[in-house]
């Protein structure tokens, strides 16, 4: 598992994907930072993450769309499946590598925290809770992205499915109240106010586990049906 993770992590930086992800996130985040801090004259670090979550919606697919789809297309899947590692290890390795990229991105956002502490006293615990919530949101996004990548050979299709699903769950509450609890991005909303909601936390984690499990089952299935 660690071997797969290490290689995947390295691959993110051998190709532009890793840089694009982190760079794009930070550029967007900076813009929101500017708008929030200067327009509203606030030194609140957490609230920028409301916007940060929407950025995540659009850039997570960059990270996940190639994970399994590309292996299948180039045939390197054969190398993985014929070596003595289980499918679970492969999927977990890929998942952890993508998560590591998000963690790095989060660490980068600390520089905004540093800037803010020059002008005021941002709250470190709420900031950490927000980052935790942000990470939880990210892992559920990533796991769904990997799932989408495992059902098709085409990266683009995987990416579109992922973005489509995220946007759908984002806007559904606008159509009807019923969907409020289905929206991943809504579940994140409580974290920036400094509270760790157990229900939301559990939902994020179960969603992640469910997506990864389905991915593993899909790959296992394909192995016997092929």
């Amino acid at each position: 598992m660690w071997a797969v993770m290490k290689k995947e992590f390295k691959s993110y930086f051998y190709s532009p994907v890793g840089y694009v992800f982190i760079g794009l996130f930070l550029i967007m985040f900076s813009i929101f930072f500017y708008v929030d801090v200067f327009t509203y004259q606030s030194t609140n670090f957490e609230y920028i993450f409301y916007s940060g979550a929407t950025i995540l919606t659009f850039i997570v697919p960059i990270l996940t769309m190639r994970t399994i789809a590309e292996e299948r297309k180039s045939g390197t899947e054969q190398l993985l499946l014929t070596s003595p590692v289980s499918i679970t290890q492969v999927v977990m390795g890929k998942f952890l590598a993508a998560t590591a990229i998000v963690v790095i991105t989060e660490l980068c956002t600390f520089m905004y925290f540093g800037i803010l502490s020059f002008f005021g006293t941002p709250h470190i615990t709420t900031a950490l809770v927000t980052l935790l919530g942000f990470l939880l949101l990210a892992i559920s996004y990533i796991s769904f992205g990997i799932l989408a990548s495992s059902i098709t050979e085409n990266q683009i299709i995987a990416g579109v499915i992922t973005i489509g699903f995220f946007i759908l769950t984002w806007f559904l509450p606008g159509f009807s109240e019923i969907f409020t609890n289905f929206s991943l991005i809504n579940m994140f909303a409580k974290f920036p106010s400094g509270q760790i909601d157990i229900a939301d936390t559990v939902t994020f984690i179960t969603f992640t586990i469910a997506c990864l499990l389905i991915t593993i089952i899909f790959m296992q299935r394909r192995k016997s049906v092929r």
Binding site: V4, P84, S86
Partner: protein
């Protein structure tokens, strides 16, 4: 082949690798197999050394000896000079070697090579073949190929499979002998008076003479089949000379693995 390597699960029967069932203990069984897939899929964004190291990690080569083992394999496959190059930038022959190195790592007992020489130029083909021969001394090598001359050159046991059923298991020599069409001789002659047919009456060992083809320069190629195990070449030469037939070329008809293959497959389809 895909089932032996554990890429596809079997629906019937059982794959047992060195006494270990692929279905029950896949990790242990896969450890004994080095697989070089057809079309050499590789991680093209890694360099050669990184790729081989990654394969070593996947095959759980002990961390202490990993570096050493990787270097040894790079040397063995002749990749030492290009180990820092990105796989993407390598030629097809080198890619083939990298794939082979990936299969070799972890010291598997069984090597499975799927079409290892496809798409290579003649020099690369001989290089890869020599490498395979070398490996055959220390490993069990299972080679799948449709280039039968290659098979008869490298392999010491051939399995011909037609529509999922094993048609023959034997050494290439035995297979060739099995279908050999008696003792025949090909002759190419210039024969303006069409006297070849009369030869049959003069040499009693000849069973039959068939015209194979007429060449553009007026010569004709015949196949002359003998009764039993007689070498006809001497008598043919003598008799043809008497009849003023000029021999341009004469050779014994060797049956090849191709003939054996065709016969076995056709027999199976009937």
């Amino acid at each position: 082949m895909n089932m032996i390597t554990g890429f596809i699960e079997q629906t019937q029967g059982e794959v047992i690798v060195d006494g270990v069932s692929m279905l029950k203990k896949p990790k242990k069984a896969k450890k004994e197999i080095g697989y070089m897939p057809e079309g050499v899929p590789l991680y093209t964004d890694l360099n050669v050394k990184e790729f081989v190291t990654y394969m070593a990690q996947l095959k759980q080569v002990d961390k202490k000896v990993r570096k050493e083992k990787v270097q040894k394999i790079l040397e063995q496959t002749g990749l030492k000079d290009v180990q820092k190059k990105l796989i993407r930038n390598l030629s097809r022959g080198y890619k083939q070697r990298v794939s082979m190195a990936g299969a070799l790592v972890g010291e598997p007992k069984i090597l499975i090579l799927d079409e290892p020489t496809v798409g290579l130029d003649p020099k690369q083909i001989t290089e890869i073949r020599n490498l395979i021969k070398e490996l055959g001394k220390t490993h069990t090598v299972i080679l799948s190929s449709h280039i039968l001359s290659e098979v008869s050159q490298i392999c010491n046991k051939v399995i011909i499979i037609n529509k999922g059923k094993i048609v023959a298991i034997d050494t290439p020599e035995n297979l060739e002998n099995k279908v050999s069409n008696g003792n025949s001789v090909y002759v190419t002659v210039e024969d303006p008076n069409n006297k070849v047919d009369t030869i049959k009456n003069k040499i009693k060992d000849i069973k039959k003479i068939d015209l194979v083809q007429k060449n553009e320069d007026g010569t004709k190629q015949y196949i002359i089949e003998a009764n039993g195990d007689v070498d006809l070449r001497k008598t043919i030469f003598a008799e043809f000379a008497k009849e003023n037939i000029t021999i341009f070329e004469m050779k014994k008809a060797d049956s090849s693995l191709e003939d054996a293959f065709m016969k076995l497959i056709e027999g199976g389809n009937k």
